[in-house]
């Protein structure tokens, strides 16, 4: 039953990856900003939740605090870093380097404030329950998958049915069109960052309560988000979701063959295969968006 156990773990990990990647993909797809600091947002949200837990605050408050921190970082980056850069130049790499720099700074500040060792939040929900002989699943795994589904459906509804959502979808294609409809691309960009950043929160909290945290997690999260965005197809939110699950499952199932230190290698191998054989990803831009 090892494979079933690993598949279920993979599903849980995949849900976390999927939501984080969807956030990155939403930001990148609509604003074309390569938000490398997305990994730092994840780390910050997770540690704020951890801090609230240590301080004895009730969980809903902790979740709220994490969400506020994530959105604050995302929106601040958009306003104070990306907006000024885009005013004078806005080349892809200038934005990338700035984002990268802030990501490193945030990650190190988190390390200085909370320490660099491994920490976890243990809750009732983290405890694994036996569902079959040799197969244990914690309720958090189901919550993770449910969260991914819920947030994704909610996001899709938002993007298809609301004014701002539809404008966000149009933003990457035609900023001119946005202006013609009397919307401000900069303001929409801020919405994209707020939304994209809040999407890391469920994953960050679930990670804190299951596999645990350390500040260096940001780079791993970033690699996964990038890989899922490319594997899913740049600009495709559904693709990022599917690719997040795919990477989580692959990482976990790879444990049947490899030792645990090779999990990131599996992600890399999948990413490389896609770049090599199918650079448009699972769902190229044309298929969905």
């Amino acid at each position: 039953m090892l494979w079933l156990q690993l598949a279920l773990t993979g599903l849980q990990v995949g849900a976390v990856y999927a939501l984080t990647a969807v956030g990155f993909s939403l930001i990148f797809g609509s604003t074309r900003i390569f938000h490398f600091a997305h990994g730092a947002t994840f780390v910050l949200a997770a540690y704020v939740f951890y801090w609230a837990y240590q301080a004895g605050l009730p969980a809903p408050l902790g979740i709220l605090a994490a969400a506020v921190a994530a959105v604050a970082l995302g929106v601040t980056m958009d306003r104070l870093v990306y907006a000024p850069i885009q005013r004078h130049e806005g080349s892809f790499f200038t934005v990338f380097v700035a984002s990268f720099g802030v990501g490193i700074a945030v990650q190190n500040i988190v390390g200085m404030v909370f320490g660099r060792s491994f920490v976890t939040v243990t809750t009732e929900l983290s405890r694994s329950v036996k569902i079959l002989d040799g197969v244990y699943v914690s309720p958090l795994a189901w919550i993770a998958v449910a969260c991914a589904a819920l947030f994704f459906v909610g996001l899709q509804w938002f993007l298809r049915r609301t004014h701002v959502g539809m404008a966000l979808r149009a933003l990457s294609d035609s900023p001119e069109l946005i202006r013609a409809y009397g919307l401000d691309p900069r303001r929409l960009s801020t919405y994209a960052f707020a939304l994209g950043s809040v999407l890391v929160v469920p994953g960050a909290i679930i990670t804190a309560a299951t596999s645990g945290l350390n500040p260096a997690l940001g780079h791993h999260v970033m690699l996964i988000s990038l890989a899922a965005t490319i594997v899913g197809g740049i600009g495709s939110i559904g693709g990022a979701l599917a690719a997040g699950f795919l990477l989580g499952l692959a990482e976990s199932l790879a444990l049947i063959v490899f030792e645990s230190q090779w999990t990131e290698a599996v992600t890399f191998a999948i990413l490389f295969l896609f770049i090599l054989l199918r650079p448009a990803g699972l769902f190229g831009r044309a298929a969905t968006s």
């Binding site: 390569f34 720099g101 490319i230």
Partner: protein, 316 residues
Amino acid sequence: MAAYLLNLGVLISIYSILAITLNFIMGYAGIYSLAHAVFFGVGAYAGALAAMHLSASIFVTVPVAMACAAVLSLALALPALRVRGEYFVAASLGLQVLAVTIFAEWKSVTGGIGGLIGIPPVDLFGQAVYRPASFFPLSLAVLAIVIVVTRLLVRSSFGRNLTAIRDSESAAASFGKNVPLIKTISVVISAALAAVAGTLYAGYLSFINVESFMLDTSVLVMAMVIIGGTGTSWGPILGAAILLLLPGLLSYLSFLPPTEIGAIQQTLYGLGMAILMIFRPGGLVGRGKARETKSAAKVAVGQKPPAVEAKAEGAR
């Protein structure tokens, strides 16, 4: 004190080589790599193994190291450069992560986490060079050679082609430039020269392990290039000097907790990168103004052209 300064001089020379070679692809070809520490590492391990098992002569170790790094860089460049720049960033980040795992796990070759110990000192015409006082001139000489080689390349037609591709890939292709090939060659040259720094490093310390070749190092070298000035001749060297002097200077500030020096340093250069990009994207040495001033600024509103170009590239 003299030993301390000489040691610092050696490290600045070695990191300057890394920064110059990264600048070669970042500044002139517009290729952003997060895997430079991998080629540094491959150069160090290959050079060390060659010194331990073949000959410690610099004329053996350096070519071996360069060849290994060049071959590995091909594996990264060939697929990743056929597509857009974002893919290279992603692929290089992936390679960096993978390489750290391999450096740490391939015990029979890299010595695992423990690393390689007892690497023979660099042998130059039969003389073992290991004292900082004699190693410093050697590292300076190698640095000078690397500077000259990269300057010659940048000023050749090859360098012009790189810059043309960076400024407009589609236009360069329309004038007959084989864009993927030219980019691939630049990455191979950069990786091979970074391996030279690795070989020096291994021979100087006589001990290496994975910790010197992690993502942190790639980030550090990228920060050196950016802070000093991307696409400038002296910027990367200035950047290397500043960032290597920083920990020493920070340790003079006695109110800072010593265990946090590393984190403070990383925070500083992270913020430094972001602030420079906002106010002075060319770096300390570079031109104050952003690269695209008048014309592109007009076009860049809303970034329509890149999207159009992206579509055209994607459709190929």
